[in-house]
């Protein structure tokens, strides 16, 4: 591809984009309407699913002895971050207070109770994670005390590092058991984004391809030195860019107004980019095959809603029965949403979403091939 060809492709794609985004109706359906979905489904599924990746635990350590600090070292983990403060604060998510006689009671082998407080609207999932970690730490300290009695435990560890982790809690569930239910805005924003990329790219992308064909606009473009292949790439690029811009704006709105956390922004954008490419190809394909605006809109709304529901855009796919989850795999939205959930809620990395990217890339290739094969420039 020469520079001149690339310039022409970018010129056409940029013009398509400019026309689309300058349409007020497009603005409403692409950006304002999805925000309604974000709020609706974000609030609806806020319940246990919006826990942060690392649960913060505010600790007031009033202990006069050495066991308080020792115990807190046991509580620390990659999923629990301890925030030490001197006085009990007014605002906290989760709070643990170690009393002044914490060490004294341990050494006296006297019973004591610790209170873990949770702010009413803080994540229950995070509180449960902290609670489990506390039980784990208590079990360890008790085990150590039983095993080593009155000896100097810290000195003992130096010679016996293999005994450092006496108590380990390993969670074992059957395969595919859902241990975390995504929810809240971190679910609803990507959900609405994926759904409305599907709907709006198909509608606007498809209708404009159809109109440009019927009005002879695409035919006229080929009077220039541009090739048919170049024109196809320009149309594909314009529609892909439309989906990406829509996603970027929704993510920014989500970040500013709903504290959106995508887990891994770059990989999330990569998922959206590949998904938008598949939808761009589908829109060119539909725009080439269908000759009526109403039909394109009807088809796009139907497909986008069915795919959104099956793919987990409205409700987390993790809450539906396994059979329905498997059926959802026919939806392109499933692969995008599942990859986004892996990145945000399941500490997934590039390797975790590789199969999803593969499926979406394959789908993009197939749809692009079909769109290119049936790309119609004139009626």
């Amino acid at each position: 591809m020469t520079m001149k060809t690339l310039k022409r492709i970018l010129h056409i794609a940029g013009n398509d984009l400019r026309i689309m985004v300058s349409d007020k109706v497009y603005f409403f359906w692409s950006l304002a309407f999805p925000v309604l979905f974000i709020v609706l489904f974000g609030l609806l599924y806020k319940g246990g699913g919006n826990g942060p990746a690392v649960a913060e635990l505010t600790v007031v350590n009033r202990d006069q002895g050495r066991w308080g600090a020792y115990f807190l070292e046991k509580v620390k983990s990659p999923g629990v971050e301890i925030k030490a403060v001197d006085e009990e604060p007014e605002a906290y998510n989760r709070l643990l207070v170690l009393p002044a006689d914490f060490s004294a009671k341990i050494e006296a082998r006297a019973a004591q109770s610790l209170a873990l407080k949770k702010r009413e609207d803080a994540s229950t999932e995070a509180a449960a994670r902290v609670e489990a970690r506390l039980f784990q730490a208590i079990a360890r300290v008790i085990s150590e005390l039983v095993l080593y009695g009155e000896g100097d435990l810290l000195k003992f560890w130096d010679g016996h590092p293999e005994f450092r982790e006496l108590v380990r809690v390993k969670t074992r569930f059957p395969e595919n058991t859902v241990t975390v239910v995504p929810g809240g805005f971190d679910h609803s924003i990507p959900g609405a984004t994926v759904q409305f990329i599907m709907m709006m790219v198909m509608i606007y992308g498809g209708v404009t391809v159809m109109e440009d064909r019927k009005k002879g606009v695409m035919g006229r473009m080929l009077f220039s030195p541009l090739s048919t292949g170049g024109l196809f790439q320009a149309k594909l690029l314009g529609r892909w860019a439309m989906g990406m811009i829509q996603a970027l704006i929704l993510f920014v709105v989500g970040k500013v107004f709903f504290k959106l956390d995508l887990g891994n922004v770059r990989l999330s954008l990569l998922v959206i980019a590949v998904f938008a490419l598949a939808m761009a190809a589908l829109s060119v394909f539909i725009g080439s095959l269908v000759g009526k605006e109403d039909l394109i809109i009807g088809l796009a709304v139907l497909l986008a809603n069915v795919f959104a529901a099956l793919g987990g855009c409205w409700w987390p796919i993790e809450v539906v029965p396994a059979g329905v989850r498997q059926a959802g795999m026919i939806s392109p939205a499933y692969w995008a949403m599942d990859a986004l959930h892996k990145l945000r809620f399941f500490q997934g990395d590039f390797a975790a979403i590789l199969p999803h990217l593969g499926v979406l890339l394959g789908l993009s290739a197939v749809l692009s091939g079909l769109a290119a094969r049936y790309f119609k420039i004139r009626d």
């Binding site: 022409r8 026309i19 002879g216 606009v217 006229r220 080929l222 009077f223």
Partner: protein, 309 residues
């Protein structure tokens, strides 16, 4: 500049172009006249690169038109469809369409302003095109084809569906473009348009050129004669007798009555001779009208049907 050699194109059993050949020189304005279905749009579509599966060849500026894509930078094409973006204004449309050709961005803005002036749209260049009248849209459609200063301009029925004022404006533009050195081919089925605008006319039907030349040449080509109507003071018999020896020498007596007669002459050069014969016989002539035969008659004679059929 442009040489079309034996172009043949079929749609199924229908022959749209039948060994069509044509040459066009720089600055020449050629009107391609023909009824609907004559093959005019097919020809333009092939030249524009929109149609494939044809035989024959086209040489443009000494190169094969279809093997060198960069030649499209030297061609401007104005399709029948109003093919532009109605959502954009006229200036933005020109900048968009001009951007598809190899015209530097700075030159493009200047050229767009010039073209808008030429087509008398500069006053409304910032208004969305969807608010334009049909005539204004046609002018914009034409302007887009001219923006990159092509050597060859192809216009497919550029005056369809517009008012007289807009039509005059577009035809005037075509004349100016030709005068500036651009070769122009425009298709139409409006006789008056080619008569007034073109330096050469080709009459086309059923995919072939039936005749071509200047208006005068065309009329002569088919043996059409000027009609001379004479009014005076004479008897029909005397009038006929005075001209009897000119019959067959380019003069044909069509009708003669007392004080009025009509003749067909192959050339208006014959008129002094006719008057001389009448004066010698003391036949008074008070009025003489020459009616040039029109293209409609030529077309009728060539195709056996009216252009409007």
């Amino acid at each position: 500049m442009l040489e079309i050699k034996s172009l043949t194109k079929s749609y199924g059993d229908v022959l749209a172009l039948d060994h069509f050949s044509l040459e066009l020189k720089k600055g020449e304005v050629l009107g391609l006249l023909g009824p609907n279905g004559a093959g005019k749009t097919t020809l333009i579509s092939i030249l524009a690169g929109s149609l494939r599966d044809f035989t024959g060849g086209v040489s443009f500026l000494g190169k094969d038109l279809f093997s060198d894509r960069s030649l499209k930078n030297r061609m401007g094409i104005v399709p029948q469809d109003m093919a532009f973006y109605e959502e954009l204004n006229a200036a933005d449309n020109l900048l968009f369409w001009g951007g598809l050709y190899d015209v530097p961005r700075a030159d493009l803005k200047k050229r767009a302003a010039e073209i808008l002036e030429m087509v008398e749209l500069s006053g409304r260049s910032k208004e969305p095109v969807k608010n334009f009248s049909g005539g204004m849209k046609r002018r914009l459609n034409t302007a887009i084809g001219l923006l990159h200063k092509p050597d060859l301009l192809l216009l497919d029925e550029p005056t369809v569906g517009i008012d007289v004022q807009a039509k005059v404006s577009i035809l005037d533009l075509i004349r100016k473009v030709g005068a500036a050195g651009t070769g122009v081919i425009f298709t139409t089925h409006q006789l008056a348009e080619v008569e007034d605008t073109c330096s050469r006319i080709a009459i086309m039907d059923r995919g072939r050129i039936l005749a071509q030349g200047t208006l005068v040449e065309l009329i002569r080509l088919v043996g059409e004669k000027d009609i001379v109507e004479i009014t005076g003071e004479f008897a029909a018999a005397a009038f006929s007798e005075a001209l009897v020896d000119l019959d067959g020498d380019g003069v044909e007596l069509l009708s003669a009555s007392d004080n009025q007669a009509a003749l067909a002459v192959s050339d208006t050069d014959r008129i002094p001779k006719i008057l001389d014969r009448l004066f010698r016989r003391k036949l008074a002539v008070t009025d003489l009208k020459i009616k040039t035969p029109n293209l409609e008659a030529v077309f009728l004679k060539l195709t056996g049907r009216s252009l409007r059929d």
